[in-house]
């Protein structure tokens, strides 16, 4: 039966349906509702464990440790909290802990504008932690997709043995839409890692070899390990080449937008073609290249100052136009005028 569900609830329900049984978090706008739902759910379902941690550092460490202990674990936060979680994320990649981190973005840097939506943590997801990591990240744009992609994130985590990021924004978290959660079916990848207490392994954040021996001054071993990590993530990412492409016959211009911005620019679909990446990381380089070939102009519309645009430029080896919706302002009229101005400037 269809009912009104918020993005936050859809994320939580998606996690429950895919078998999540551990949540650790710390209150922060706009994902506190997920924390609250988890608290209530754990009271009613003793098999589901919950921790309201003392800070996001602890929440993230607890999520990864619970995952190693055998739980399907997740946490939810926003930009400033995600910054604190970076340490644990790096650790999670090295100890190969499958889990999900939800980051519903608000205007930053720092405290920024806590109740206003933004899309400004994209670079933080990819490059926030020390060293090279190859995270997978998905970004839905509807409540129904929040539900399904949460399940996808858990599955991809099990396959890639790493923390997978589910991105959202303050708009999406608090967006209510009619969806039928109970009636939809989800694909579930079962647990892939042996839980703690079944061996003599060492899960260390230090560089190590396959036996778990700490190797902190061996470049050959490190290079091998990192290449394997990257290959594994690439292999898993190939299974989830998610994007949405709305071609417009008469248009020479391709708009690239995702999350809430893609909902706003959808109104322009009769004038411009629209490409919406759903898998944000690894960047959909091949798909971007294919789609962009038939367009003279490429415009990236996003809630930050050109973070995804820089990835598009890298993928296409060319400059692209940027429309930056900053400070929580996502007005269609403004975006439209920016696009028009931009196109005028380059001669349409």
């Amino acid at each position: 039966m269809k009912r009104l569900v918020s993005g936050n609830e859809a994320i939580f329900q998606g996690a429950i349906r895919v078998g999540a049984n551990y949540f650790a978090g710390y209150p922060i706008s706009p994902t506190s509702e997920i924390l609250q739902q988890a608290a209530l759910y754990s009271e009613e379902n003793p098999g589901f464990r919950f921790l309201q941690a003392e800070d996001e550092i602890a929440a993230a460490i607890a999520t990864i440790s619970a995952s190693l202990a055998g739980a399907k674990a997740f946490t939810a936060t926003s930009g400033p909290g995600f910054t604190l979680m970076q340490e644990a994320l790096g650790w999670g990649h090295v100890v190969e802990a499958p889990c999900v981190f939800v980051n519903s973005m608000r205007v930053g840097p720092s405290t920024g504008m806590p109740t206003q939506p933004a899309q400004s943590d994209l670079l933080q997801v990819k490059a926030g932690t020390a060293g090279d990591v190859y995270p997978l990240a998905f970004y839905p744009n509807s409540v129904e997709e929040c539900f399904r992609l949460t399940a996808t994130a858990f599955n991809a985590a099990e396959e890639s043995l790493s923390p997978v990021i589910l991105l959202a924004d303050a708009f999406l978290s608090h967006l209510y839409e009619l969806v039928d959660l109970e009636g939809s079916t989800l694909h579930i990848v079962p647990r892939t890692k042996d839980p703690l207490g079944s061996g003599q392994r060492l899960f260390t954040g230090a560089a190590h070899d396959k036996m778990g021996n700490v190797k902190t001054s061996d470049p050959v071993n490190y290079r091998e390990w990192l290449r394997e990590l990257k290959d594994r993530h690439d292999r898993v990412a190939e299974r989830y080449p998610f994007f949405e492409y709305l071609p417009c016959k008469n248009s020479e211009t391709l708009l690239i937008a995702f999350g809430m911005t893609s909902r706003v620019v959808l109104a322009l679909k009769d004038r411009f073609s629209i490409f919406r990446p759903i898998r944000i990381y690894p960047v959909l380089e091949k798909e971007l290249e294919e789609v962009s070939q038939s367009y003279r102009h490429i415009i990236v519309v996003e809630g930050n100052d050109g973070q995804y645009a820089s990835w598009v430029e890298c993928a296409l080896c060319q400059k692209v136009m940027k429309v930056s919706c900053l400070g929580g302002g996502f007005k269609l009229k403004w975006i439209q005028s920016q696009i028009e101005d931009g196109l005028k400037g380059v001669g349409r």
Binding site: E54, I61, S65, L196, G197, Q200, G205, V214
Partner: protein
Amino acid sequence: MDRSYKELLKLRRFPHTWCPGCGIGAVLKNVAMVMKELGWNYKNTVAVSGIGCSGRMSGYMNLDALHTPHGRPLTAAEAIKTVRSDLNVMVLSGDGDLASIGGNHLLHTSRRNPDITVFCNDNEIYGLTGGQAGPTTPQGTKTLTSPRGEHHSPLRLGRILTQQAPYFYARTTVYHLNHFKTCIREALLWKGFSFVDIISDCIELNGRRLGFKTAHQMFKWFDERFHIVEGERDQLQEDELGIAKAVVKEVPRPAEKEEVKPEIPMEGLKPFTLEELERFDGQEGRPIYMAYQGKVYDLSASPLFQGEKRMRCHLGGKDLTKDLDIAPHGEDLIFKFPLVGKME
């Protein structure tokens, strides 16, 4: 001597990384010996460490072990225990890791009281990074970051950890071996959060700067500084070695309050018909009566029915039973008013 404890150590990784004379080896060995006595092994035990020299301990244990980021072993251990209550979880780490960068986690994990045991190799220095002042470095001690002597007074772990019952805080040294083992055993068997503060030596990066020539001289110094106190204690003085513990009786969770509706005898109440009730509408100085579930209440005193502020939703002289079912407030509002009769 029984050497069977060695099966709990990853001897293939030896020689270990620690300097000759370091106290950490003694911590590792004695913990392994007590674990062996208690029958703990890789099937039922997980070790968690942080960063630092002491953080390498879990890696030498023949168990599933975690080597967490700096300062986070307590949180990791708590999460593991939460998910797998069947496992024994212990933390092997140091004072810099647990009390400085992990200080916030120490406060809150001990408050939440998970059933884990913490062994803190307290050598009063940051050894692995070369000998900088730590949170437990005594005032006046010269280190790399306190070249004229440490300015601040050290963190008193014993005081912090014995403020909120239940707690288990033991202080011992690597020199007082029998006492050390007793503390380990009691801590491992304690139900709840137990913390063993093991005064240990770092001869190379602390001791030599203090003027000691050998680790043994440092051990003798421990013997001078501390003395063992026997018996049940709830606090330890700074020069005492012993166990301070306190239990609180488990307070049962308050049951959810059941709604108690006031029982009012219906006998002897004045009967009203609906027509009669309608006369008490508050107009021209008449009182305001309203019926609810067969009873008639006098609502004249309600501020909602006074003068201009007169309530817009309900009029006097009516049966409110149906209105209250859909009203945004509960029925408890009406029970506050005097009962004057019953409906026929």
